[in-house]
Symmetry: C2
Subunit: 225 residues, 2 copies
Amino acid sequence: MVRKGERLTGETAKVYALRLLSESIINMELKPGALISENELSRTLGVSRTPIREAIHELQKSRLIEVFPQRGSYVAPISFEAVEEAAFLRRTVETAIVEELCDKITKKQLGELYENIALQEYYLGNEMSDKVMEIDNEFHKMLYTMCGKKRTYDLVRTAMGQFDRLRALSLYSIRDLKIVSDHKAITDAIAAGDKETAGALMTKHLMRYKLDKEEVMKSHPDYFK
Amino acid sequence: MVRKGERLTGETAKVYALRLLSESIINMELKPGALISENELSRTLGVSRTPIREAIHELQKSRLIEVFPQRGSYVAPISFEAVEEAAFLRRTVETAIVEELCDKITKKQLGELYENIALQEYYLGNEMSDKVMEIDNEFHKMLYTMCGKKRTYDLVRTAMGQFDRLRALSLYSIRDLKIVSDHKAITDAIAAGDKETAGALMTKHLMRYKLDKEEVMKSHPDYFK
DNA sequence: ACTTGTCTACTTGTATACAAGTATATTACC
DNA sequence: GGTAATATACTTGTATACAAGTAGACAAGT
């Protein structure tokens, strides 16, 4: 059902359960429609039902799990509307953030962004695809924190699982290439203080999920609701 | 600690606890810094600790409660940054929403908005302040749903408790007057399909919290962190 | 006066038993 | 064969006992 990972030191049972369950759903080991049995998870992970339940309820808020009282909890199908709304939220917020950064970013912060991009190019060149996804998320997180909006990131983050699942399913191979060049162009625009360009580039950047979505809708229509 | 309200029919223990606890914090019956004792709440509300804990964890995500393991859970102080971030999120999203509505709103939906405003004016004229707050929230919710963004509303909603607390503390009396006239102007702009005006009006409208914030920071500086 | 250890009374985190509802298979009956 | 009642084996929701950690009171010793 879900692989039994290693419990990190100092990690509470709830965080442990959330981490493994979340990973399993996002990388599609647990497919839409799969039953999430509290008892089975409890046995597999070696913790009681209480922390399992807490993890399930968090993922329910991210709309990755659907809970039906007295019937069961299931991995949520990929919802067309949920993906579109998550995309809208993220695009709207992050476009505003880069515009704000055009005014207030520091030289030091700009340097950190370019460092991150250099790493992106390295992973890209060595075809380390999961590393690219990881550092892509890190790049966007940096924009929030540099803008003093860490709480906003945490909130928007809960909706991003929708994208991550699409990406895990998609084979669209030039995506990573585009992502990295997008990041570079956006950072250049921020460095130039060009709000209009930075905002427009971010909006365009965060519309790229549509290609993944269309591809996955054709290759795995059964995963959608 | 918290008043023992009536448990609605069909309401689960968790929802019941969340409702009462949430109300008590937002209307400032439970003041920042107050201890939220799971055991005491359990006794007061007549439900076990499990649903109480689930409610507490939800409010923790809304940043209305801070949980310190093995030490206690407390009503969160009003955080300057948390308020500003919640305001940014809401303003950004709802400005985009009214712009989108300029293109796609229907005549029927416009009618519903004006009906709501008529009710706002009625409550305003009869000085039913809590009713104004209730229907104000309803107006904004309608904008999300008309735009097909109910999920987005649910997510943004979790951050709005920050405002509600400020409003409960503020005595700023012309606020409600301004709110209603803002709503009317925004709706008029949407009806005219004027994106620029609608967006600008919404942005201005959602900056009004600043007056409440400044007033409360002076009258109750001890509630802030 | 001041430290230091200990005891007590809390706190949240976790495990587990039980309650209540649902879907399915099985059995009894026509 | 077909149908309805009934076990039965699940599910999540809730209650409760216990584990582990923290803070403060308080007394003993220096």
